[in-house]
Amino acid sequence: MSERGKDRAKPAKGAQAEAPPRRGSPVAWVLVALLVLLLGVATPTFIVIFVGMIPALVAIFIERGKDVRETMSVAALNFAGVAPVVATLWRKGHTITNALHTIQDLGNLFIMFGAAGLALAIMNLTPKIALRFITALDNRRVKAMREQQKEIVAEWGVDVRRDARL
């Protein structure tokens, strides 16, 4: 076997340690597929959704590798802001001109991007609130367990402490 053949058969350690190339999250690919589909069948709607969902797309691509639920939550809340704007477009007339007007409207932009901002704020706050909640629960458990230990010592004597440490 030639030296090159050997090299192929035995990849370098460094190459082994490298992670396989990432192809993006499935959510991102679904969103991209939906947007491409929309571009074909409903271009005005695509324009509004594309512009409105930019925060979600950015979040998807910059927060890759994080909990998928967070990304999906941002996307969901972002879309919750985009949906009324799309409904307004459909009511006004589903044309590219209306779509361009819609996305230039600051109120609409505020609704869509504000929803995304709200999503980010919720994602930021809920772990902190949860941590406080969990810490309080753990403290209660520790207190209860200490009480149980006191009861054991009261029933069996302080030697229990010494023998439990052995």
Binding site: A76, L77, R91, I122, T126
Partner: protein, 680 residues
């Protein structure tokens, strides 16, 4: 070879004591009425009355507390009195002014002693000696021998005149001292002469007939046959010429009496006359005369220092007297060659030869002491076991130990312990087998005593050996010695009295009390065994073990109520409550102790602690509690050290909440939008 055990003043020597005492609700002892004619050395006689049988004349003999009584002999005499013997009718501890004394109640010989002391009296006529003394005393001895008992105190000054007229004679008491202890050397058979008085042992039935022969001789000549001769001189003469010749020396006796004494004074126990031969002789028939046994002699003497000795028995005595010099002489003087060529004893020579060889640097395969024991046994197989300063007959270990412990000194006790732990007994037994003799059960007994000695717990040690070897010895504990308890009930009563004054800090159950109880009681039964397994390392368990021993004793022998003792034990056992872990159990047992404290039943008190079910449940519960405590501690530590884990859980929970909120918002937003489109 003097009466060393009797030489020193007895502990708490007796003095005249006025007043009366009652033994066992039956015998009233009058201490104001001493009977000096019936005193024994170190033992004082007092008048006594048998309340149950006032017609029976008795007297009390207050004995020494530091020497064992022969209780088996005494009990046999109580159960089945022997004709021709001053029988025992009762025994126990009796309070005198200076404390309690082990006391014997004996049949009172109205005429006192035949000889007032050992020095002598008027010679008696042959016919009177034979008819009134030889025959009835031989019958009495034969009766004892049939019960596997020995008298071992036959001598002229211990023959009693049973009636006022002095026509009926009886053997005096022999219950108050170890066998042979009070005998003079002339009255002991040759084998036992070499042993110290306390070490002479119970002996053989023929030993009593030997003493009877010397007694008959003494009565006929009116003096002690050994008078004017020191014990060592007499011993050498007896070895050299035989006991008969040495004792008869210069006295002319009738031919029949000479024949009788030749038979009774035979040095070979196998040839010595007993009851059967005496009857034959009395009937005028002829007995087979005893063989003329001549002490073996070497053709040439063996040199030991300045001495030149040819007789093996004398050589054994000399070797034992100076073992260090003996071993040097044996090695230097080619002792094995002397045995082979001069004594013509190839077996002994073959045995001794390898023992005398020394390795490089003068090392020897056997210690000098054991070499001396071995050689002395080969030379004098019937003699005592000789080890260092000890010259003890195989059945005389009890006397040796009682004397050693009674001396209050450490050295003799340590010497005895060293003797037990050495190979002396094994070597002695091996040499006896080599000489075609039986070694008896001594090897097995010594193994048992070694196990006692190695047992450091209460109930073991040298004290246990002391009481196992001396069944008639009062408990020597300082706590009860003033009451000299002879039996278990007496010990318990003595402890009960001591407990009245003792505080909880005083130790009533010492090693003597424990050893006495263990020796005198049957093995513990059932759950009490658990409590007895305590070790000296744990005070609480030691206390419990001591209490358990008393419980066993009380259960087996009574008395049913020991109020002071249970109160004292209750105080002591309160500290042992810590062996229960569960506080509820402790409380319950503590309350139960208080309830039982005044009940007087030691077993009930100890049973609280020895309840195996309760102990097991407590132990298991404690182990579970320890496991539960440890598991909780581990959980608490995990929580307290789990900040990272908590943050991860918080992130997960936060994401879930955000996810739910987001989709609720999405659902709401889409619903409103769809409604908006539909409504135009």
């Amino acid at each position: 070879m003097t009466d060393a055990a009797e030489a020193g003043p007895p502990k708490g020597s007796l003095s005249e004591t006025a007043g009366t005492a009652v033994l066992g609700d039956r015998f009233q002892i009058d201490f104001g009425n001493a009977l000096p004619a019936l005193d024994s050395p170190g033992r004082k006689a007092f008048a006594a009355v048998d309340r149950k049988n006032p017609g029976k004349l008795v007297y009390a003999l207050a004995c020494r507390v530091d020497l064992p009584l022969r209780l088996r002999f005494a009990q046999s005499s109580i159960d089945r009195p022997v004709t021709g013997l001053v029988n025992c009718v009762g025994y126990g501890s009796v309070k005198m002014a200076e404390g309690y004394r082990p006391t014997l109640i004996l049949e009172r010989p109205l005429g006192g002693r035949l000889w007032k002391d050992w020095k002598g009296a008027e010679p008696m006529a042959e016919k009177e000696v034979v008819d009134k003394i030889l025959v009835p005393l031989a019958v009495a001895l034969d009766t004892l021998h049939q019960r596997s008992l020995r008298h071992r105190s036959v001598r002229p000054d211990n023959i009693m005149l049973a009636d006022q007229g002095g026509t009926v004679f009886a053997l005096g008491e022999a219950f108050s001292a170890p066998p042979g202890t009070l005998q003079r050397v002339a009255y002991e058979p040759l084998d036992r002469v070499m042993a110290s008085p306390a070490d002479r042992g119970q002996g053989h039935v023929s030993d009593d007939f030997f003493a009877l022969g010397v007694t008959i001789l003494a009565l006929l000549i009116g003096k002690d046959p050994a008078v004017g001769r020191d014990d060592p001189v007499l011993a050498v003469q007896r070895v050299t010429t035989g006991s008969f010749s040495a004792l008869i020396q210069g006295h002319s006796l009738s031919t029949p009496i000479t024949e009788l004494l030749r038979g009774l004074l035979a040095d070979d126990a196998e040839d010595r006359w007993s009851m059967k031969e005496i009857r034959t002789w009395r009937d005028g028939r002829t007995n087979k005369p005893p063989r003329q046994v001549h002490e073996r002699r070497g053709e040439l003497p063996f040199r030991l220092g300045e001495q030149q000795l040819a007789q093996p028995r004398l050589l054994a005595i000399a070797f034992a007297a100076n073992p260090g010099e003996a071993v040097k002489a044996m090695r230097k003087g080619q002792f094995d060659m002397w045995l082979k060529q001069s004594l013509r004893d190839p077996d002994a020579a073959e045995t001794v030869e390898p023992l005398l060889k020394t390795g490089p640097g003068g090392t020897s395969a056997i210690s000098d002491e054991i070499l001396t024991t071995t050689v002395c046994t080969l030379l004098d197989p019937g003699g005592p076991i000789r080890y260092k300063a000890l010259n003890v007959m195989p059945d005389g270990l009890g006397g040796v130990l009682a004397k050693a412990m009674g001396s209050g000194e450490r050295a003799p006790v340590q010497a005895f312990a060293e003797f037990l732990n050495s190979e002396a007994v094994e070597k002695w037994a091996a040499m006896l087998r080599l000489r075609g003799r039986k070694a008896g059960d001594l090897e097995g007994d010594v193994r048992l005593y070694r196990s006692f000695l190695a047992d450091g717990h209460l109930g073991g040690g040298m004290e246990r050996c002391l009481y196992a070897l001396n069944p008639g010895l009062p408990c020597q504990s300082r706590q009860v010695i003033d009451r000299a308890p002879l039996t278990l009930p007496e010990l318990l009563v003595a402890l009960d009295a001591a407990a009245e004054k003792a505080g909880a800090g005083n130790e009533l159950i010492d090693r003597h009390v424990a050893a006495f109880v263990c020796s005198r009681s049957k093995p513990a039964e059932g759950s009490l065994q658990l409590a007895l397994k305590g070790g000296p390392e744990d005070d609480a368990i030691k206390r419990l073990a001591g209490a358990a021993m008393l419980a066993v004793a009380q259960k087996q022998t009574g008395p049913p109520s020991l109020k002071n003792l249970t109160e004292w034990l209750a105080k002591r056992l309160g500290a042992s409550l810590t062996q229960f872990h569960n506080r509820e159990v402790r409380k319950a047992v503590g309350e139960e102790i208080e309830r039982l404290a005044s009940g007087g039943d030691v077993s009930a008190l100890v049973a609280l602690f020895a309840d195996e079910k309760r102990r097991t449940a407590d132990k298991k519960g404690y182990a579970d509690a320890v496991d539960r405590y440890a598991a909780l501690e581990s959980d608490v530590v995990a929580i307290e050290n789990g900040a990272e884990d908590r943050a991860a859980r918080a992130r997960g929970l936060g994401a879930t909440i955000g996810f739910v909120l987001a989709y609720i918002a999405l659902l709401g937003s889409m619903s409103v939008s769809i409604f908006g489109i539909l409504l135009g």
